[in-house]
Symmetry: none
Subunit: 139 residues, 4 copies
DNA sequence: GTGGTCTAGACCACG
DNA sequence: GTGGTCTAGACCACC
């Protein structure tokens, strides 16, 4: 299972919060399963090009909240999860997110092509990161 | 031009923002044209069963953003469409909206193709009318 | 950076607008720089002896206009200066402001030279710092 | 002297303001001279097909500003301009108008030259109108 | 503690 | 009747 992360460093929501939210969501949706190992603090920090402290901060809270647990000397692992989203639920959420996205951007006068190009570019970055390459994860 | 307003009071997006988005969408798609009068603050508040101040809040932002214009004592009217934001700002906003969208959907495990197909379908429903003088986005 | 706020409650310009203008002026003149924290909503409201909502109203518009940014739970901070408006929009606003100014002063019988001299004197006091990347106005 | 009024009921500037501005402009440009009588409230309201209250409102402000004066039982007459405000009062008003103007435009990133050029252009239009009269009241 | 949103109700300016 | 502003007080999310 590819562990995909996407953060926006420029956002007003703290980076560590973005990490937490994505891990939580990944667990809830079944993208990540019980027992899956999270990337190491240093690895993830390197991938996202952020401070390891930020990752550590996020991981600490995940442990505090019981989403993950630390096996000393081995790493961080996802704890028993509660529920997974059905196909319908996932579609509903995608639909909702798209509606919100369009609502915020229609008046910006971008063409569908421009938007799709930008979306593709961003997605390709995510793929690059989750493919495990170490060199090319630049922004 | 009577146009239906719909709000979801339980949504995470504030009510006043939902109103704004609907008006902007209506303007972009041509449901509302220059000179059309928006429903009065009190009327819309009554219709949506919300506080008039919430509607006023939304209307004030529409005026600030150049979407509508107030004729004192008469009401709010849709203005001639124009793009008030610089190219840079528009790109920044698109970028931000895309980041948020991705943050909320990466964990849903949809492929780029699936998302783009859905995006295309939604866009085709709202035939976008550009604000640019020559049919293109201006700055 | 402590910066004094002054409002005239009796003025025709709304209080929240006076706050906005003072912050913007402070940013333009360099009294406030990127990253500086604005006084809290409640603190400023107490200082000016006005309702916190009025301050919140002003702050919300500063955020919408990209002058400040909210860090959840921490406060409001001045953002990196940028020009969000298109050249067209900025000209439109300048034109509007000039019309209003002339409407209020033509009957005062000042010569163009007198007015320009006074304008120059005032401008020189607030050494304007451009938001443009290359020192000029951008769009 | 034909006292012609033109108002645009559809404009976003209030009708009473349009009336005030036209009288002021008329006085400044010499279209109206000291001692000229303004149309009665009821006559003007009838002519413009607007509410008499609106005209009364405008006239009241003209009197407050010293542009016109009421001779009870006779009507409203254009005052002698020069004796309206003291030098100090005129300076105070100019100062205030300039402050408001700068507050609204500093963040637009226009240079002093650009502003002064635009100001000059606008003023020259006024001069063109008032030319041919007994010269030199302004500029 | 911070800001963000919403409700309730008031007063003003304008027509 | 219209919108614009302000006050008062409430609840929320986030830190």
């Amino acid at each position: 299972m590819a562990l995909e992360f996407h953060i926006s460093p420029g956002s007003s929501t703290p980076i560590y919060r973005q990490i937490i939210d994505q891990v939580r969501k990944g667990v809830v949706t079944g993208s990540w399963s019980e027992g899956d190992q999270l990337p190491s603090v240093r690895a993830l920090a390197e991938q996202l090009v952020i401070n390891p402290n930020t990752v550590a901060h996020a991981y600490a809270e995940l442990v505090r909240n019981g989403v993950a647990e630390s096996k000393p000397g081995k790493g961080l692992f996802v704890t028993k999860r509660r529920q997974i989203f059905s196909k319908e639920e996932r579609l509903r959420r995608l639909n909702e997110a798209l509606d919100q996205f369009l609502g915020e951007t229609v008046f910006l006068d971008f063409s569908l092509d421009e938007i799709q190009a930008m979306l593709e570019r961003k997605r390709s970055k995510i793929r690059t990161i989750s493919a495990g390459k170490k060199g090319g994860a630049n922004d």
